[in-house]
């Protein structure tokens, strides 16, 4: 009976709380077994609660706080698929981190995952913003956990940008909630095809603030640099834990609040294209993966802007498959970082000789990301490109997405596995990754295959289930789609081989590539120095004058009060008597004329 009551209580809790409780357990765990149970068991308990029926879009947990109606837990089919992605990422991250005991990273990683889960299952704007802020703090701790000078500074930049985004989101939510008269998500808009999405009007001030705040977290163009700055400064496990949540959470928020908002189509298309050019030049492969994250998130943003049932399904599905294959790719680079201490392409190559399992996992992640048919990326990306292709007046967008697909193959499809494990032999012979890392990579590779080969169960979890099943039956594995995708990849691969053969592929060179961060890392301090220069010069002059004046006063004082100074000189008694009479006379005169 008590167990039943406990279960009844547990299923009314936002699943994110289970991960936060697991984080507390990890922080105090003294032995490896308890730590492992908390790291892996926490997400599994959250998953069980999530899958506990029914997922109806009703508010499961309703509270009143300071007179405001809050809904801590409101699951629907959109939140469920994103929640599933976060749980998968959390389990993979837990297994992957088992070799490295670091309380800060373990706890921060679980709190981060819990906060992300909390966001997708929050039923009101206030709860949602609180979880977003919690995720911000936890994610920054993952960057600080590297405990080096550059990581500390990158963490501070990361934290600053995330706090700005969080504050915009908070202010926007407060303004929008006051104007709408409610903070409950169900009260903000109408149902669209049975789902509460596209509920915020971005033309209002509050709505625009929310959009910008979420946009920073999604890595919109010119707001993307926190990704490429933070990821390379993490530990080998930090990037694996850091990569899946913030951007995916932003995709969820865009889908929930701004589905069908036309400008997102172009913003998303731009996000898919420009990272390709940066990734070609970049030498640090973790940065290449960060740019590739930008590229993939762009696909989802574009799909959300398209706003059809097919495209929203595509965005949600791609969010989950992206979590799986991008986590896998970060895991393979993490293994290389652990063994060699670097992820720079110019220092790597030929590692397949001693790290073949890691190389295989990297190839699986790359092929999945390139959307090779019968792998996870294909099942989700095809929905988005089909939605763009079938939309009226979207030829340019569709072409941009195709270009980005070819460029995406270059980024993590070829650059990461080829430069790390093949290409020129660096002469380095590191030992294979630890077993727990290989296990996590194996599970992620397996998921790429399972989602790709048997997408039925995966499609059944998508927000618009019937439309997803229809797409599965009619389009996904149609001969034309498979042939077209294979053509794209085979000819892109051929282009790579031709360019490599004729030595036209740019050599990997050490260096940093200028990006928007130049504005605050170089131009900002330079402008600051230029603007404060005259003030500093004036300050130096004034301080010189003051020190000259005080020096004069000091000298004069020394002369007056020194042992042989004026004040210390011996004075005759008669002179003292005369002075006393003069002073008394003065007092007498003053009192007379008063």
């Amino acid at each position: 009976m008590t167990v039943d009551r406990l279960v009844d209580f547990a299923v009314t809790m936002n699943p994110g709380f289970f991960l936060i409780i697991a984080a507390l357990l990890v922080a105090v765990a003294k032995d490896a077994f308890t730590r492992a149970v908390a790291l892996i068991g926490g997400p599994i308990v959250a998953l069980l609660v999530m899958l506990y029926p029914p997922v109806s879009g009703a508010e499961v947990s309703r509270e009143v706080f300071m007179g405001l109606g809050l809904s801590l837990y409101r699951p629907d089919s959109l939140s469920l698929i994103f929640g599933l992605g976060f749980v998968i990422a959390s389990v993979l991250g837990g297994i992957y981190s088992l070799h490295r005991r670091d309380r800060l990273q373990d706890a921060a990683g679980l709190v981060y995952a819990g906060a992300a889960l909390g966001v997708v299952f929050a039923g009101d704007l206030i709860t949602l913003v609180m979880f977003v802020e919690l995720a911000t703090v936890a994610s920054a701790l993952l960057v600080f956990a590297t405990r080096t000078g550059p990581a500390y500074r990158a963490g501070m930049r990361f934290l600053t940008i995330q706090i700005i985004a969080g504050l915009m989101l908070m202010a926007g939510a407060a303004i929008y909630g006051v104007q709408a008269g409610t903070y409950l998500i169900t009260g903000l808009g109408e149902l669209w095809n049975g789902l509460v999405i596209g509920i915020i009007d971005p033309s209002t001030f509050g709505g625009m603030l929310i959009l910008i705040g979420v946009g920073i977290k999604a890595g919109f163009p010119l707001m993307h640099n926190w990704l490429t700055d933070a990821y390379p400064n993490t530990t080998e496990t930090g990037a694996v834990v850091l990569s899946p949540y913030t951007t995916t959470m932003a995709v969820y928020l865009l889908a929930r609040f701004f589905a069908g908002y036309d400008p997102l189509i172009w913003i998303g298309a731009a996000m898919t294209v420009y990272p390709v050019f940066f990734a070609v030049m970049e030498n640090d492969l973790k940065k290449v993966l960060a740019y590739s994250t930008n590229n993939q998130i762009g696909l989802m943003v574009c799909a959300i802007g398209l706003g059809s049932t097919l495209s929203i399904n595509g965005a949600a599905a791609h969010a989950v498959s992206h979590i799986v294959f991008k986590t896998l790719l970060f895991m393979t680079l993490g293994a290389v970082q652990l063994r060699l201490g670097t992820t720079k392409a110019s220092e790597l190559g030929g590692l397949h000789r001693t790290m073949p399992w890691t190389a295989l996992a990297c190839l699986a992640g790359s092929a999945s990301m390139a959307a090779l048919p019968f792998l996870a990326g294909y099942t989700s990306k095809t929905m988005i490109t089909t939605a763009a292709e079938s939309g009226p007046g979207l030829l340019a967008i569709w072409m941009l997405l195709l270009f980005a697909s070819a460029g995406g193959l270059m980024m993590s499809g070829i650059k990461v596995p080829f430069m790390t494990f093949f290409a020129q032999d660096s002469g380095k012979r590191p030992i294979e990754a630890p077993f727990n890392m290989l296990l996590a990579m194996g599970v992620a590779s397996g998921l790429c295959l399972i989602i790709g080969l048997y997408p039925g169960w995966f499609y059944a979890l998508l927000p618009f289930r019937d439309q997803a099943q229809e797409f599965l039956v009619q389009d996904l594995f149609s001969m034309s789609h498979v042939l077209q995708q294979l053509q794209l990849l085979v000819f892109a691969g051929l282009a790579f081989m031709v360019l490599w053969w004729f030595r036209l592929y740019p050599k990997e060179q050490p260096g940093v590539i200028l990006d928007v961060e130049w504005l605050w890392r170089k131009a900002g301090p330079m402008a600051g120095r230029a603007m404060t220069g005259p003030l500093r010069r004036a300050g130096r002059i004034v301080s010189g004058l003051i020190s000259a004046a005080t020096g004069g006063i000091q000298t004069a004082s020394r002369q007056v009060f020194a042992a042989d100074g004026v004040v210390s000189r011996k004075v005759p008694l008669s002179a003292t008597a005369i002075w006393a009479v003069c002073i008394l006379g003065l007092v007498l005169l003053i009192s007379l004329f008063r």
Binding site: M281, P356, W357, A406, F422, Q487, V490, Q509
Partner: protein
């Protein structure tokens, strides 16, 4: 005197009874199994030819299987191949001029002690 000089020659002619490992010393057996064939002298040329042939087969299949008239770019035979080849080529070749324009030394964002930014 002549015997010691003949001995190495005889040894060289004798068939070796030791098994020569396929890969490098210390190489993982899985790597030998899966990847050692890639180190063949002609691997790159053969792989390129195979890929080109596979691409041609894909285009041919598309032509053979599509009964529809070409009404849009999407169902033009070979269109995706052209986009893949050109898109990848443009992306990679852009790396040359962009790299010269935008690449800076690794310590570019570092500043000397006492300067604003205090990055070192």
């Amino acid at each position: 005197m002549s015997e010691p000089t003949e001995e190495p020659a005889m040894k060289a002619e004798a068939p070796s009874t030791e098994k020569v490992p396929l890969g490098e010393p210390g190489e993982h057996p899985l790597s030998v199994l899966l990847f050692s064939w890639m180190r063949s002298k002609f691997f790159f040329r053969v792989a390129m030819a195979l890929l080109a042939a596979f691409g041609a087969v894909l285009v041919a299949l598309e032509i053979a299987l599509s009964g529809k008239a070409v009404t849009s770019l999407a169902n033009m035979p070979g269109f995706f191949g052209i986009v893949g080849f050109a898109g990848f080529g443009i992306a990679v070749l852009s790396g040359w001029p962009l790299g010269r324009l935008m690449r800076r030394p690794e310590d570019y964002y570092d500043t000397r002690s006492g300067e604003a930014g205090r990055d070192r």
